[in-house]
């Protein structure tokens, strides 16, 4: 099946195949991001701005704040989980507290997908 993603309830959720999967209010540790000057951005997700599929990965851009330095804004594309079974569309979320590497290039690469 094709994977269907969208944000819901004014950015509260990433919905994957019509199931609410990733919610706001988690802290995400971002490495090598240029979101702020911190070595590790300690990012509080306050809202999902954009979601997309880069098979099998589900990615999102989040609005929020680095709670270490206070920088506010929207992140680059971040993987929030993956569809582990393309047949059933079963989704597996990523642990927000592991370290993530936002992908700056993906936006350029996107049209080819």
């Amino acid at each position: 099946m094709t994977t269907d993603v969208h944000q819901l309830d004014d950015g509260a959720w990433v919905s994957v195949n019509d199931s609410r999967e990733v919610n706001v209010s988690n802290l995400w540790l971002l490495a090598r991001s240029d979101f702020c000057g911190c070595e590790l951005t300690d990012f509080l997700a306050e809202g999902f701005v954009d979601v997309s599929v880069d098979h099998p990965n589900i990615e999102a851009r989040m609005a929020g704040r680095c709670i270490a330095c206070g920088t506010e804004g929207v992140t680059d594309w971040l993987q929030v989980g993956r569809v582990i079974d393309p047949e059933s569309g079963e989704f597996c979320a990523i642990d927000p507290e592991s370290v993530h590497f936002p992908d700056k290039r993906r936006r350029l690469a996107r049209p080819q997908k």
Partner: protein, 591 residues
């Protein structure tokens, strides 16, 4: 490209949702196909139902829209019965018990833990006394707000209640305006105090006089594009239009049709009309309204009464309607303080009885989450004040209790970052017991919102609190951003954000220190708002330190990660949800 939500709305929206809702209810929670849940939940909002947050699947928040906050004789008892029978969740709230009503900042009523299966019966009960949930959420005309004592107030110039009522009747269930790009919030004010809060609504009617054919007439000036959500608060802006009461609905129709046609359906974050006003400016707003959406000549704005607005203006105010006030007919209205707007169901029954016994049976809701018993017999107000219910819901509350407002927060809301209502109850009590009230302050506004949606209207409080997180000893804890000096009045002002990410258990200490500085440094009878207004950002940041005190906060631990923040076993995996119509846990769907 239209958003997904717009596509769902194109398929089914507005009145027609009801038949589907009833069918799902009849067949039970599991009859909603899994891959259609998102679409149906979005649509159910139009009928006042908002699916609760994660860990509470199959349960809904239900909003009942009471225009202008007017609960007519006979209605409150039914509201209590519905809450009593249908709004009992699987767990108890330690402050409020297991069934309660929330009086909201837009003069509506919210119930929680509603099961889909009960909705047909609930609708029957509500509708049998003229209540309803239609358009209480969703992309349409929301509950009309206004001065809560409209028609019963000595400050009034126009009786705004018939106007609010006409708007309600014209636009409830009206297919022409049922599918707007986003919510549409309207305020009607008839008094010279500004208690309709028009400044923070999408469309505002404000009292104004205008000379028409040599005669001075009373009507409304029209403002557009207010709202607090996200980090983009706006005050509504005058579009230089005056309208007589009998044409208020025509202008409302025109304005909301303009929004329907020109609002942004490609980006929900940019959809509220406040952004269209930003983009177009007020002159274009007016000319498009005139040219395309009304068929009579719009008079230019009349003489407004903003100079006399005291509501939430920081100084002496008749403002929040708490206390005993004489009505023009010689009877009294008595405003009672409801801490954070939540009332246990037994108290709601009692309130309904008292309103019958001492007044006309009418009760009204304010935009400060309080209740007003109207039409109290002129010779029985003292007797009423002695009623035991009024020990908890006081007519003469302590300034910190009186000024406290809180939104729904992590208890039920998907967007939330922090716990709100129970925390604010604890804050108010601690402040009352530990902090000296600055001289002359009768009502000190502290508004707590769990996220930037700003349902508790934090930006227009003396102290604004907004949900955040921080780390304490390396561990994530719930925290609040603190803003100061917001309010309405002739020259409304949004709070300036001064302290960021203060751990929630250090906020009472901050307030204590702040008020000590205020008392120490204020000049003469300066109000708190004036005191804040005359200081620059840097000075404000140095006013006070946050610190721990003997205040204890049981909700520091990321309450959003629990299925319900107050139960012993709060682990997400221990949630009984989703449940069937009897409240029994369903097996997790096998997909």
């Amino acid at each position: 490209m239209p958003t997904k939500v717009e596509n769902w709305k194109d398929e089914v929206y507005g009145n027609e949702i009801r038949d589907h809702l009833m069918e799902f209810a009849e067949q039970g929670w599991e009859s909603i196909p899994e891959d259609e849940q998102d679409a149906w939940f979005e649509r159910f909002k139009w009928w006042g139902l908002y699916h609760q947050r994660s860990g509470q699947e199959s349960y809904f928040m239900m909003r009942i829209g009471t225009p202008n906050g007017v609960i007519e004789p006979g209605q409150l008892e039914v509201i209590a019965e519905v809450a009593d029978e249908y709004a009992r969740g699987p767990a108890e709230n330690p402050e409020f018990g297991d069934a309660y009503c929330d009086w909201t900042t837009r003069q509506s009523i919210q119930l929680h833990w509603i099961k889909l299966e009960d909705i047909p019966e609930i609708f029957d009960r509500l509708e049998s006394v003229g209540l309803g949930t239609q358009q209480a959420c969703g992309d349409s005309w929301r509950n009309i707000v206004g001065c809560p004592v409209a028609g019963k107030d000595k400050h009034e110039h126009i009786d705004a209640w018939p106007v609010a009522e006409e708007l309600h009747e014209t636009f409830k269930g009206n297919d022409e305006y049922s599918n707007l790009p986003r919510k549409w919030k309207v305020a009607v004010t008839g008094c010279d105090q500004g208690c309709g809060q028009g400044d923070i609504n999408d469309l505002a009617y404000e009292p104004a006089t205008k000379e028409i054919d040599g005669e001075e007439k009373l009507g409304f000036n029209v403002r557009v594009g207010g709202g607090l959500s996200r980090k983009e608060p706006r005050f509504s802006r005058s579009i230089d239009v005056w309208v007589p009461p009998e044409q208020a609905a025509d202008v409302g129709a025109g304005m909301s049709a303009l929004f329907r046609e020109y609002g942004d359906r490609d980006d929900r974050f940019n959809a509220r009309i406040k952004f269209l006003v930003d983009e177009w400016g007020t002159e274009k707003m007016r000319s498009v309204l005139q040219d395309e959406f009304v068929d009579f000549e719009l008079p230019t704005a009349g003489e407004n009464m903003r100079e006399s607005y005291t509501y939430n203006a920081g100084g002496d105010e008749h403002g929040d309607h708490v206390g005993v006030h004489e009505q023009p007919d010689g009877n009294y209205y008595v405003g009672l303080n409801v801490l954070v707007g939540r009332m246990g169901v037994d108290d709601v029954y009692e309130l309904a009885d008292l309103a019958d016994e001492y007044g006309s049976g009418e009760v009204r809701l304010t935009q400060r989450q309080n209740v007003i018993v109207t039409d109290v017999d002129s010779d029985r107000s003292d007797e009423f004040l002695d009623e035991p219910l009024l020990e908890n819901y006081e007519a003469d509350p302590h300034p910190f209790m009186r000024g406290s407002i809180a939104c729904t927060g992590t208890e039920f809301c998907s967007l939330s970052i922090v716990e709100t209502k129970n925390r604010q109850v604890r804050y108010a009590r601690w402040l009352k017991d530990n902090v000296a009230v600055p001289d002359g302050v009768e009502d000190f506004h502290i508004h707590l919102s769990g996220c930037t949606a700003s349902c508790a209207q934090p930006q227009i409080a003396d102290i604004s609190l907004r949900g955040m997180k921080t780390r304490k000893d390396g561990e994530p804890v719930e925290a609040l951003d603190i803003g100061l000096g917001g309010g309405l009045g002739e020259n409304p002002h949004f709070a300036d954000w001064v302290e960021m990410r203060v751990p929630a258990d250090e906020v009472p200490g901050y307030v204590e220190n702040l008020l000590a500085t205020f008392e120490d440094q204020r000049e003469g009878g300066q109000t708190f708002r004036e005191f804040i207004a005359e200081r620059d950002e840097e000075t404000l940041q140095d006013l006070a330190e946050a610190e721990e005190t003997d205040y204890e906060d049981p909700y520091m631990h990321n309450t959003k990660m629990t299925w319900y923040p107050y139960v012993e076993d709060d682990d997400m995996q221990s949630s009984p949800a989703p449940t069937n119509g009897e409240g029994e846990p369903l097996q997790p769907a096998d997909d």
